[in-house]
């Protein structure tokens, strides 16, 4: 019975991947490192937490998962971010459009955390719009724990990726090229 239980637990590995891209976003790393957020993640059934901390200086606590707690690890940069994203069950990301659309294309649940310390904070516009359209959840470092607690993953709608065809069509039309 013990071994079956262990196998089950292994099967049920649910990883959370946190990414700040090439930015420095200590407030987010600090927030996911807090007892509150870790507890909420645990309560939602997540087992592993991997943090890509970018240029930040705050070092989160590592944990091997003793006493049924979350397994926590971190790194600064990696060329295989896409692989970590693919194997994650939940992604918590900074508000950069690159990370956001990469995650949405993978059809992964996403919480975008807006960096309120940025001077020209236009990035929150995109996250809020996509949250209004139910493609992701939007939070601040302070409200992250609460968002994890209350989020309803079934309410998320898949994002339909666009392309450059409408732009190309208009450019062709403007220049007087015949439509294909």
């Amino acid at each position: 019975m013990m071994t079956i239980g262990a196998v089950d637990r292994e099967k049920e590995k649910k990883a959370v991947f946190v990414t700040v891209g090439t930015t420095c976003f200590d407030a987010l790393v600090k927030s996911v490192d807090s007892r509150h957020v870790r507890n909420e993640l645990k309560k939602r059934g997540y087992t592993n937490l991997l943090i890509q901390m970018g240029r930040g200086s705050y070092i989160p606590r590592k944990s091997c998962g003793e006493d049924e707690s979350l397994v926590v690890d971190y790194f600064t940069f990696s060329p295989s971010i896409a692989d970590y994203m693919r194997s994650a069950s939940l992604i918590i990301s900074h508000a950069g459009s690159g990370s956001i659309f990469e995650t949405l294309r993978l059809r992964k649940p996403l919480i975008v955390v807006v960096n309120e310390d940025l001077m020209d904070n236009h990035q929150s516009e995109l996250a809020e719009e996509l949250a209004d359209r139910k493609h992701l959840f939007c939070a601040s470092p302070q409200t992250l724990g609460q968002t994890i607690q209350t989020m309803d993953l079934d309410s998320l709608l898949p994002f339909q990726s666009g392309d450059g065809l409408p732009v190309a069509k208009l450019i062709n039309k403007f220049l007087g090229f015949p439509a294909e």
């Binding site: 459009s97 236009h122 516009e125 666009g162 392309d163 450059g164 732009v167 190309a168």
Partner: protein, 229 residues
């Protein structure tokens, strides 16, 4: 008593030149934004890559452009950005392999990659920005004289401003009539970026595209094109 007043003729000359310039400006502004009837089969195209998310959005446009029509293609990226040109080169090389038109030497005939001096770094003070912007405009002038593109496609950030400025001056002087297309970044939902606002308000862009309907409602001359990503 009739005398010859050289000052008068100088004033007249200056007035005449100013009048010519104003008429020419009005003419250029009138015809900017009006569809062309291109007689040639091919248009030389300048593509300004803005780094990061801007570059990803721009390459999604280049991906679907008719490659035999928009040729040769000149790619420009900021000097501090060493990823964008690499990505463009990968795209161009994949095209060549797809078309099987020959070896990699052919890429030099249809695509060219250049870095441009950046007018303003994030967080740079406004005073030093004046100097660096001047250098950036001179560099843009040099690149524009070299390429003289018929089509310019750009999507911010500031890297494209000196290029568009020079392109407009070329239009006024009559060196080259380039059509400028600007696509506002997907990250701009409610307000235009500074570059976007400049190009829109000064009528520098012939066509202006936005990726969110609420922006189009606010800026009526813009075209809504949906998400590029």
């Amino acid at each position: 008593m009739e005398g010859f007043y050289p000052q008068d003729s100088v004033t007249n000359l200056i007035g005449f030149v100013v009048l010519i310039v104003v008429i020419r400006l009005a003419y250029v502004l009138y015809w900017s934004g009006r569809p062309l009837r291109t007689l040639s089969q091919r248009v030389s195209t300048l593509i300004v890559l803005g780094s990061g998310g801007h570059t990803a959005e721009m390459l999604s446009i280049v991906n679907v452009l008719e490659k035999d029509r928009f040729v040769p293609r000149f790619y420009i990226a900021a000097g501090t950005d060493n990823m964008s040109l690499q990505k463009a080169r990968v795209l161009e090389e994949s095209l060549i392999q797809k078309e099987e038109i020959g070896n990699k030497k052919d890429i030099e005939k249809i695509a060219c990659f250049e870095q441009i001096y950046r007018s303003r770094e994030v967080g740079q003070s406004y005073l030093t920005s004046i100097y660096t912007t001047l250098v950036a405009i001179l560099h843009a002038l040099w690149l524009m004289l070299k390429f003289r593109p018929e089509v310019i496609i750009c999507n911010g950030p500031g890297t494209c401003i000196p290029i568009c400025l020079v392109a407009f001056i070329f239009k006024v002087i009559g060196i080259r009539w380039s059509s400028i297309f600007y696509i506002e970044s997907i990250a701009r939902v409610k307000r235009l970026s500074l570059s976007g606002l400049l190009l829109y308000k000064l009528h520098l862009a012939d066509q202006f595209y936005v990726q969110w309907p609420q922006l189009q409602r606010k800026y009526q001359r813009a075209h809504y094109v949906g998400c590029l990503m």
